[in-house]
């Protein structure tokens, strides 16, 4: 077991190192891009350009630049932004984490509850109008770009129907810290939660229905019926429980991706200054230290959630566990 965990950790480290090199190459070695030119401005004089190049260490070999960057990110932790000099990168990410966490955890709650309801109801009423309607709604949810959903939500709640009783409580766009004002926090985030959750409700609801329907065709359900168990017990204790394996693994991967900054579009549309927003700003300014740090942060969550899902999978499904051993 220890060997398996160690191998997995080694693989994680390898993937993250690979990603860091890839990011570095994208921003430093792509022909036609010069970070010094970006920092110095469009029509900078050659002397200024050279000074900037020397100042930021762009005149050193690529490998040296890469190692220095990694050292300042992981070892000394004093990496600073190229754009706002003096702004430390690691603290500014840590500052953005609560915003992203608030957004993603709330949305995850919404989508887990809603998609379990959708999937279960569709399965219980499979073949009926309810089933069809739920599945079509799910498909529409999957087909909507999240930033557009956000804009339409803003249009309705901030402008068109803001003065009606229904949406007069909606505060202006932006984040309110939970510790400062819990009610304000909830009000500011409830619409972003729903907007972010819509895609996943559709996706998970459809997947859950499919695996529930499949589970109902399995022998162990017939056995449960033969034992005289009630329909409710069969659904919740037997069918739903087996279907949860797929559900949990999907959830782990998506949650990791979103915590790492995958909710970027939602954060941009709703003006929430989370990790995704930070990443997006850094990308627009070609602020390489911040980009490197946020991408490392994001990929850590992706890689870690991949590993966690594998372990959970092994714990839940004996076939996988035995195949590994």
């Amino acid at each position: 077991m220890i060997r398996v965990v160690l191998a997995r950790l080694g693989q994680m480290a390898f993937v993250m190192a690979g990603i860091s090199i890839l990011v570095f190459l994208i921003f430093f070695a792509t022909p036609g891009t010069d970070p010094a030119a970006r920092i110095a401005g469009r029509n900078a004089a050659p002397e200024v350009l050279a000074a900037v190049r020397h100042d930021f260490g762009f005149d050193q070999p690529l490998a040296v630049q890469y190692v220095l960057l990694m050292k300042r990110l992981f070892v000394t932790g004093d990496l600073t932004s190229f754009v706002n000099r003096g702004q430390k990168v690691v603290p500014s990410i840590l500052q953005a984490v609560p915003v992203t966490m608030s957004l993603v955890v709330g949305a995850a709650l919404v989508w887990v509850v809603a998609s379990v309801a959708v999937g279960t109801l569709a399965c219980v009423w499979r073949g009926t109008v309810v089933d069809k309607a739920l599945m079509i709604l799910g498909l529409i949810g999957i087909s909507m770009p999240v930033f557009w959903v956000g804009e339409v939500a803003n249009l309705i709640t901030q402008s068109r129907y803001h003065d009606t009783w229904l949406f007069s409580w909606v505060p202006g766009l932006g984040y309110v810290p939970l510790t400062q004002d819990p009610v304000g926090w909830f009000k500011a985030l409830v619409i972003p939660w729903v907007a972010l959750a819509i895609l996943f409700v559709g996706l998970y609801g459809r997947v859950l229905r499919a695996s529930l329907v499949e589970a109902y065709g399995e022998d162990f359900i017939r056995t449960a019926r033969a034992k005289g168990l009630g329909e409710g017990r069969i659904l919740f204790r037997h069918a739903l429980r087996t279907s949860m394996v797929t559900f949990v693994s999907m959830f782990g991967l998506d949650f990791g991706l979103l915590v790492g900054g995958g909710a970027l579009l939602t954060e941009v549309v709703f003006g929430l200054q989370g990790v995704g927003y930070l990443t997006y700003n850094a990308l627009q300014n070609l602020d390489l230290p911040v980009i490197m740090a946020t991408v490392m942060y994001a990929s850590f969550f992706v890689v870690a959630s991949n590993a966690a899902v594998d372990l959970i999978y092994a714990a839940l499904d004996p076939r996988v566990r035995l195949a590994r051993a």
Partner: protein, 365 residues
């Protein structure tokens, strides 16, 4: 993430259905007298698809959407009578016998800002104008062309690249497989949007110079290639898995035992099966690409102004959201309809081509 791995288990399921001969390959019907009603799996799949009313309806909708976008030049010259790519800040238009400015000075507030004309619901400025005084309806049609071309082109790149990588890794194994799989692992763990945005931002400034080849930053090739690349692991990994499974299957073992050369096994046994998977993936990938393209354009790093795509128009409409909401809403509706049609079609294609789904439905009743 929206994709299951269709076809991964199709092999065993198919062999249960069709007996022991080579299943779901187009060549399978060649054995004389194998099955009297055998029409070949492709024809069977096509017939099944055509019986699926939702899939046929969405296919029709897609054709209609494509035809509408193709009619964009006609619309711009005959109906809207404006050039949707040049700004028209001082022009005016006649609505209900009255002459109205395309860009109007604000009456409320300080009276300093301007608002473009809203929807007239007639030929000229049917959906109003954007901030530059350009006809939104005409831009919507032209933008649709770009959105569709990018989504389609990226799909082709993804599928071809994924097929090559997946087959090479799965079929040849060994060190080649190890290297390719590690590369795919790295790409897979790189959050797709971050990768797409990184690549777009680096290339959008000056275009991409790769030796003698220069792709200008306004070229549609940039988003096509970028979106095509980022989704390769999504398709290549299931295909590699499928090829590994096929290699161990009885009909390939039998062929190997009979002394059939490897390249012939590759062409006659592996490729047709992989082709099925690719076809199942195609509409679903195109739907995903469409959303990705709109997101990149929305972040102003996709299609560059004055050219349009549905995502760019949503971005144009962002500043006008509360005054002229149609500019942002209309392209969103176009995206939702197109992506929805692609997803429904994709479901239909999967049901028609993937026998696992057939078995699952039968079991479920």
């Amino acid at each position: 993430m929206t994709l299951a791995s269709p076809g991964a288990a199709s092999q065993d399921a198919a062999s249960q259905v069709a007996g022991s001969e080579r299943p779901d390959t187009p060549g399978a019907g060649r054995e004389p007298g194998a099955r009297a009603t055998s029409r070949g799996p492709w024809v069977t799949a096509l017939r099944k698809l055509l019986q699926d009313r939702a899939a046929v309806a969405s296919l029709a909708a897609l054709v209609l959407i494509v035809l509408c976008t193709l009619a964009a030049p006609l619309y711009a010259t005959r109906v809207s009578e404006t050039d949707p790519f040049t700004s028209n800040l001082s022009g005016s238009v006649v609505v209900d016998g009255e002459t109205v400015d395309v860009i109007q000075a604000d009456t409320g507030g300080l009276g300093l800002g301007t608002t473009p004309i809203g929807p007239t619901w007639t030929g000229h400025y049917f959906m109003g104008a954007d901030g530059q005084g350009r006809d939104v309806m005409a831009r919507l049609l032209y933008g649709g062309q770009n959105s569709l071309v990018i989504a389609g082109g990226a799909t082709v790149i993804t599928l071809v690249a994924a097929a090559v990588v997946g087959i090479v890794a799965g079929f040849f194994g060994g060190i080649v497989d190890a290297v390719l799989s590690r590369l795919l692992d790295v790409l897979w763990a790189f959050p797709v949007y971050l990768l797409a945005i990184s690549l777009s931002i680096v290339t959008i400034g000056r275009g991409l110079v790769l030796g003698p080849v220069t792709i200008s930053s306004s070229s549609l090739l940039l988003p096509i290639v970028i979106i095509g690349i980022i989704y390769v692991p999504y398709v290549a990994r299931p295909i590699r898995g499928q090829v590994l499974q096929l290699k161990r299957s009885e009909f390939v073992l039998a062929a190997t035992g009979l002394g059939v050369p490897r390249h012939r096994i590759l062409v006659t046994d592996i490729l047709p099966n992989v082709a099925t998977t690719l076809i199942v993936f195609a509409p679903l990938m195109m739907a995903l690409n469409m959303i990705t393209e709109s997101a990149l354009s929305f972040l102003s790093i996709g299609v560059q102004s004055p050219a349009a795509s549905w995502g760019t128009i949503i971005e144009d409409g962002q500043g006008l959201l509360y005054t002229r909401p149609w500019v942002a809403i209309a392209p969103g509706i176009a995206i939702v309809l197109t992506v929805l049609a692609l997803n429904v079609l994709g479901d239909g294609v999967r049901d028609a081509l993937d026998p696992k789904a057939k078995l699952r439905v039968r079991k479920g009743r």
